[in-house]
């Protein structure tokens, strides 16, 4: 049928190459629902199934059917720290750097940095202390996250493919270093659908200071249908979503009458063309739009939160530059059924730096960035925990790569990009607590044990959400594409 983006005959080839049930399910759905507007219908049906259950807790059975297996997490929130957070100055404590401070680092092969100006070893610019019951090492840069370590699950052995921000950021978001591949959020929306009619399934909260490099490429649906792409909320603007509000010059009662008129026109048309589900879907899309006009402002309005909660996130503190609002907003969105909230900490590259790209002066840069990030993110983790949401929510904190043990240029106090070892952490559903996975060598240059490549990271996230990364596929131009391409091993040691 004309409107199906992945077709009948496509799905047949998929089946011939042992396609996973999920894909078949979707194709089947498109093929059997009166054809026209299959995707539209799919979109709406995903929601109808969920709304049939009164709330998330009781929706588990239908969610389980949607997923490949019973998911540990029903929703996910990701904090993406742009620019490359130094693992050596946050969570990967390397006493050896103190001994080598000021010396030339030997025996590491080709220089991995972006600028190719290797300097001398620089010890961490912060003091490290062990924190919590787990005794996790955390630097003095992040005093608030230090209080959360017993809930966190660290991966110290991350490995990125590129030493260049945007390809590395693309890889973290889409599994590929190139333009044009669907982001993880799009894959999740495609794989799991949404749990609410009232809000988008995949919401992006960009840093209030500005968009990161690559902008909307980071939440694109790539070759997946457009409805799976992330919806960026303009958290500073009057309208959180462009075109959400009725234009000011139109009186609300007039708009209501216009909507009634439109509905009657569209209903007549759908009835005159009975059997075409797309026409029914269009009618429905206007009903849902009207609901979003109410639910999005409600979800993004933080006024109803109590003072203690606002303080927990540091909402009244100017130094986080509005980022705290996004963290609190994320929790509200998750509560209201958004499947995936992606929060960016850090904007575009350039000067002055508004992300973690500490080339010139690491301390100065990371101090500024941590002041925006530490308290709000710690607040979010604690808030999710105290509300019991961490039980079935996956929390992910990541950056695109780490920073080099040596300075960038002799005598400079900055560090260059470093893709071959860095730290990320997760928390929540299905994960061990206060746990550390993977190690790096004595200077944090290469992974020593349990290397985790980005596809492994993605496979594990999908797994926690009940999806088998080898089965979540979509046919595009000759290939049954996956978020993890042809790679990806589950990082099982971190799972409960």
């Amino acid at each position: 049928m004309s409107d199906n983006s992945n077709s009948l005959r496509t799905s047949t080839t998929s089946a011939a190459s042992a396609q996973p049930p999920l894909l078949s399910r979707r194709h089947f759905l498109w093929n059997t629902c009166g054809g026209l507007g299959g995707i539209a219908l799919a979109w709406i049906l995903d929601r109808e199934r969920a709304t049939a259950s009164a709330n998330l807790a009781s929706a588990s059975s239908s969610s389980a059917r949607l997923a490949h297996f019973t998911p540990k997490a029903k929703r996910i929130v990701q904090v993406f720290c742009c620019g490359g957070v130094s693992h050596l100055d946050t969570f990967d404590y390397k006493p050896q750097l103190e001994r080598l401070d000021g010396k030339t680092l030997e025996g590491k092969g080709e220089n991995l940095g972006f600028f190719g100006q290797p300097g001398r070893v620089m010890k961490s610019v912060y003091d490290f202390r062990q924190q919590g019951q787990s005794g996790s090492w955390v630097s003095s840069l992040l005093p608030n996250l230090a209080n959360c370590v017993d809930d966190l699950c660290f991966i110290h052995s991350m490995y990125a493919k590129s030493n260049n921000h945007t390809p590395a950021t693309f890889q973290m978001n889409s599994g590929f270093t190139l333009n044009g591949f669907p982001s993880m959020g799009a894959w999740l929306s495609y794989g799991l659908g949404s749990v609410t009619d009232n809000l988008p399934a995949f919401v992006v909260l960009p840093d209030p200071r500005g968009l990161m490099a690559g902008g909307s490429i980071n939440w694109t649906s790539g070759f997946l249908p457009a409805n799976y792409q992330g919806v960026p909320f303009r958290t500073n603007a009057r309208e959180p979503v462009l075109d959400l509000s009725t234009p000011a010059h139109i009186p609300p009662q007039n708009r209501q009458s216009d909507m009634d008129l439109l509905a009657s026109m569209n209903r007549d048309f759908a009835e005159a063309n009975a059997g075409d589900s797309a026409f029914a879907a269009r009618l429905r899309s206007y009903e849902l739009a009207a609901r979003m006009q109410v639910s999005i402002p409600e979800a993004t309005d933080l006024d109803s939160e109590n003072e203690a909660t606002k303080r927990l996130y540091g909402l009244n503190d100017e130094s986080n530059r509005g980022f705290a609002r996004n963290c609190l907003m994320a929790r509200r969105l998750l509560e209201r059924g958004v499947r995936f909230v992606q929060i960016f900490n850090g904007g575009a590259f350039g000067s002055p730096r508004i992300n973690w790209d500490g080339h010139e002066n690491l301390r100065e840069n990371h101090n500024t960035q941590a002041a925006t990030m530490d308290k709000p993110v710690a607040g979010l983790i604690q808030d999710l925990k105290q509300r019991g949401m961490l039980e079935d929510t996956l929390f992910v904190w990541n950056t695109e790569f780490g920073r080099s043990p040596s300075t960038q240029g002799i005598g400079s106090p900055g560090r260059d990009h470093h893709p071959t070892a860095f730290t990320c952490f997760m928390a929540g559903a299905g994960l061990k607590k206060g746990f550390h996975h993977g190690t790096t060598d004595d200077v944090g240059y290469f992974v020593d044990q349990n290397k985790v490549i980005i596809p492994d990271f993605h496979a594990t996230i999908l797994h926690l959400l009940g999806l088998d990364h080898t089965k979540l596929t979509y046919y595009h131009n000759g290939i049954n594409r996956r978020l993890t391409d042809v790679h990806g091993e589950l990082v099982s040691p971190i799972l409960t």
């Binding site: 496509t10 059997t32 457009a226 569209n266 206007y286 046919y475 131009n477 000759g478």
Partner: protein
């Protein structure tokens, strides 16, 4: 089918076993679902039998076989008459399923369908009226021909083509810079469709147009296909060699991917790391094709054709020769006058020149504003700063104030004219990394340039070479203005043309300093040898008059008047004549427009291509020669070229191979694309993949018949359109038929015309057209519906801009990678980086919100109301009728009018128009 049934279908399909506990009503739905999927299952079985499910790739695949001129089916049984052969093929398949064609659709629906299909715009009410009333048996054909001849046809079909070839007007990746001139390729595609260029030629041009003789502008631009996708600028510039090589391999995969998928319907790119999993394309063959394109690089280039270039070059050369002769003559006479004057010359009293922030007059007693000291063998002697050899320079104390806008000036005599790289005067930051300087002979021998850190503010100049003899003092000055423009002067006159480059720098008090004789601290070859008489730094941008005044006031150079006074009358006439000649010639040279430039890619002669084991740049293997795919046995995959053959040869051979009529793929692939865009689904539903992992044709005989006719017509795409749109299959009704729907829900056998939602561009263009706002200007630079926030990278902020420029067709929208336009996006406008042979169609609340509230839609609704009022006058019912006619091509029926009338009276005609633009009927073609 309801939600419940679908849900059950999910369970059945996803479990793959009977272990799922179904309720009785669910079982019923499941059974029905399985009946509906029976065709699919049959197809799976056929496919499994054909060996695509895991056994080795085969060259016996259907699409590799020669095109067969199929026997036209006898249709006398299912139906007495048919419009053309297409219907025969369609009816045969329908009959086999127990189906038939739907009745012909009405004329109003048909002309709307056809007009959108061929031009992407709605028919005007007059066009609808004329066609509806036309009693001629040729009425429909007349419309078809009118639309195929419309320039809007090319715009419509170019948009389809640009989707397939991932055309974008920004770089993508980190910087995502704009490609200001990539539009030349877009216009080439529009022209090609409009002129019904032979598709064979169209193909050849797009892989090798820049080297097809004679080289033309169109030819050069056409090959932009190879590189019109995203490009990783930062990845190419980085220090790490391995990563840079990977970036380059990614680029080539993209090029190979677009060529393979667009023309051959084969995913050749899949063989980069290992031989193709489904198709007979080996790793070796991937690298042979890579060798074909290994010399193709991203970037801008001049697009003048060879004839144009020859004429232009000849003209420039002759003018330059004339200029040089005239200048030499002028200079000779001036030298003569100067030497005569030199003997008994006294300082001429002139008006004082402009006052500098600081200056050094080594020939005068006045102390410099900034103290300084000589270094190396530099010394002050006889009123001159003498710089006898490398290492000699003068350095001032730090500036006492910040300097932004500025002028550098020096009075210098060069020891010789062969030297290069040194500076007469330089303003540099304390660490020497940032500087602006008057540099001699560094990039162009014997010429002055504005030297700068990283050449950021440096441009080569079209200016005369220095001719000053040893000891002759020359004034050179450079003016740096706040608008980033930079102008050079020599002896009080402009030296080359002013230009803009980089960003004006601030040199800060307490750190920055002046150097004389050295370009900058830490630079290679920074030394100037010769003598400096005076040097000045101005804290402002001098005007040309200021510079000339400074020249005159110095008394260092002989004033022109004095020089001329020492010539004889004849000599003066000769001088003035050659000077005028030089000025005229220079003006003529300046008037020659620059060669137009486009993002058409550059070429290098590559090193012989090596196969990469597992696609890894660190494991190169054997050298391979350029070649093609051996799976197409009708053609030789051998090019008989050596691995180091000229890169142009490689692409020419590939173009020959590709466009050879015996190559069975291109004609099939293109015929299928045309079919796809008319019916919303191709005969092969995977238009970029005719390989074993792609779909099989629903109507293989029809596909071959179309491909055969296509080639026989001289690869005329318009012939394909004519055949398709005049068929009964195309002209049938789209009304749902429950019985047929139950048998073939997907309408793959075409028992009705499949209704289709308009693409984003068509929705927007239709709004502009019906509201009388469409600016039909074709071609040229794209409109930019965004503001750009510049870091080193571009960030695009969508802005609803108003004005005729922004009311051009959406084809002319600058489609950038990282900044999307929400309304276009909501209507499934694809990511420009993605090769998109078929667009998704989604219906979402965000799309509804866009149509409801977007400012553009509000404006168009208002304009539509004005437009309707203009035609219909003040009477509400007539205005409503006019609005319906414009938007839907039909008048409202009685109940629609009855509903709209009170609404219009109460809330205005805008409300009705808003509802029309939001209506399902408006955004769908049936």
């Amino acid at each position: 089918m309801g939600a419940n049934g679908t849900q059950t279908a999910i369970i059945v399909m996803s479990s793959g076993s009977s272990s799922v506990d179904l309720r009785p009503d669910e079982r019923l739905w499941a059974r029905r679902a399985s009946i509906l999927s029976v065709t699919a299952c049959l197809f799976w079985a056929a496919l499994a039998a054909s060996g695509a499910s895991g056994s080795a790739p085969t060259t016996n695949h259907w699409s590799f076989e020669p095109i067969r001129a199929a026997t036209i089916p006898d249709t006398s049984k299912p139906r007495a008459t048919v419009a053309n052969e297409i219907d025969g093929f369609i009816l045969t398949k329908l009959a086999a399923q127990g189906l038939q064609l739907s009745p012909a659709t009405d004329r109003v629906t048909l002309i709307r369908r056809l007009t959108f299909d061929l031009t992407g715009l709605p028919p005007t009410p007059t066009e609808v009226e004329q066609f509806s009333q036309d009693p001629s048996p040729n009425a429909y054909h007349t419309v078809v021909e009118r639309l195929l001849a419309s320039p809007h046809y090319g715009e419509r079909w170019a948009r389809h083509w640009l989707d397939v070839v991932r055309y974008t007007e920004s770089q993508g990746f980190e910087y995502d810079k704009l490609r200001d001139n990539a539009w030349h390729y877009r216009d080439y595609v529009v022209r090609s469709f409009n002129s019904d260029k032979s598709y064979q030629q169209f193909m050849r041009e797009q892989v090798a147009g820049d080297v097809l003789e004679p080289v033309t502008t169109d030819g050069i631009v056409s090959a932009s296909l190879l590189i019109c996708g995203p490009w990783d600028e930062a990845g190419n510039a980085q220090a790490n060699t391995t990563q840079r090589m990977i970036t380059r391999e990614d680029e080539l995969e993209d090029t190979i991917g677009v060529v393979g998928q667009t023309f051959l319907g084969l995913t050749v790119n899949c063989a980069r790391c290992h031989s193709h999993k489904f198709d007979p394309i080996s790793l070796d063959e991937y690298y042979r094709i890579k060798s074909v394109f290994d010399g193709v690089k991203h970037g801008e280039r001049g697009i003048a054709g060879s004839e144009e270039t020859t004429q232009r070059d000849a003209r420039i050369q002759s003018l330059r020769q004339g200029l040089s002769t005239a200048r030499e003559e002028t200079a000779r006479l001036e030298r003569l006058g100067r030497s005569r004057a030199a003997a008994g010359r006294k300082e001429v009293s002139e008006a004082p020149g402009p006052t500098p922030y600081t200056h050094w007059s080594f020939d005068r007693p006045d102390a410099p504003a900034l103290p300084g000291s000589t270094h190396g063998s530099a010394r002050v002697e006889n009123g001159r700063l003498v710089l006898p050899q490398d290492g000699a320079y003068y350095q001032s104390a730090p500036l006492t104030k910040d300097i932004r806008e500025k002028t550098l000036e020096a009075w210098v005599s060069l020891a010789d004219l062969k030297q290069g790289g040194g500076a007469a005067i330089s303003l540099e930051s304390a660490d020497g990394r940032n500087f602006d300087a008057i540099v001699f002979g560094e990039r162009q021998p014997r010429k002055w340039i504005a030297g700068s850190s990283g050449f950021e503010r440096t441009r080569d100049l079209d200016a005369p070479e220095e001719t000053a003899t040893a000891g002759e003092v020359v004034q050179v000055a450079i003016v740096y203005r706040a608008d980033n423009s930079i102008a050079l002067f020599r002896n009080g006159e402009a030296y080359g043309k002013p230009y803009s480059a980089g960003t004006l720098q601030t040199f800060t008090a307490g750190g920055a300093r002046i150097l004389l004789g050295m370009r900058h601290t830490g630079g290679g070859r920074p030394w100037l040898t010769g003598q400096i008489r005076r040097a000045s730094l101005y804290d402002r941008a001098l005007t040309p008059d200021d510079v000339a005044a400074s020249y005159r006031a110095s008394g260092l150079a002989s004033p022109q008047a004095e020089v001329l006074a020492n010539l004889t009358a004849d000599e003066r006439v000769a001088h003035d004549t050659s000077l005028a000649q030089a000025r005229r010639t220079q003006a003529e040279l300046d008037a020659i427009p620059p060669v137009p430039v486009s993002y058409a890619g550059t070429r290098v002669q590559p090193k012989p291509t090596q196969r990469l084991r597992r696609g890894d740049v660190k494991t190169p293997e054997a050298v391979v020669a350029p070649g093609a795919l051996s799976a197409l046995r009708q053609l030789s995959a051998e090019f008989d070229l050596a691995p180091d053959a000229p890169e142009a040869q490689r692409r020419l051979k590939f173009a020959d191979w590709l466009a050879d009529p015996r190559n069975p793929l291109p004609a099939r692939v293109m015929a299928n694309r045309v079919w796809h865009f008319h019916f919303g689904q191709g005969l092969v539903s995977t238009p970029n993949d005719f390989g074993a992992n792609g779909a099989r044709p629903t109507h293989p005989e029809l596909l071959d018949w179309l491909a055969d006719r296509f080639i026989a017509s001289g690869w005329s795409i318009k012939t394909l359109h004519r055949l398709i749109v005049t068929s009964d299959t195309y002209r049938q009704s789209s009304i749902m038929n429950e019985k047929a729907g139950a048998l073939d829900a997907d309408d793959q056998w075409l028992w009705r015309f499949p209704p289709r939602r308009l693409e984003a561009e068509a929705v927007r263009d239709a709004m502009l057209a019906i509201s009388g706002q469409l600016n039909r200007t074709m071609g040229g630079p794209s409109y930019r519906p965004f503001d750009i926030l510049k870091f080193p990278a571009n960030a695009y902020v969508p802005v609803d801009k108003i004005g005729p420029e922004f009311h051009r067709r959406s084809l002319y929208r600058m489609n950038v990678n990282s900044g999307k336009e929400p309304l276009m996006d909501a209507f499934d406008c694809p990511d420009p980086a993605v090769k998109t042979p078929r667009r998704g169609v989604t219906t979402t609340p965000l799309q509804a919100l866009g149509l409801m509230n977007n400012a553009f839609v509000q404006r168009m609704a208002r304009h539509l109301a004005e437009s309707a009022r203009r035609t219909a006058g003040d009477e509400d019912s007539k205005a409503i009728q006019a609005a319906y006619q414009l938007a839907l091509g039909r008048p409202p029926n009685a109940s629609e009018l009855a509903r709209a009338l009170p609404a219009s009276r109460q809330r205005g005609l805008d409300s009705i128009c808003w509802a029309l633009l939001n209506s399902t009927e408006f955004v769908y073609v049936r």
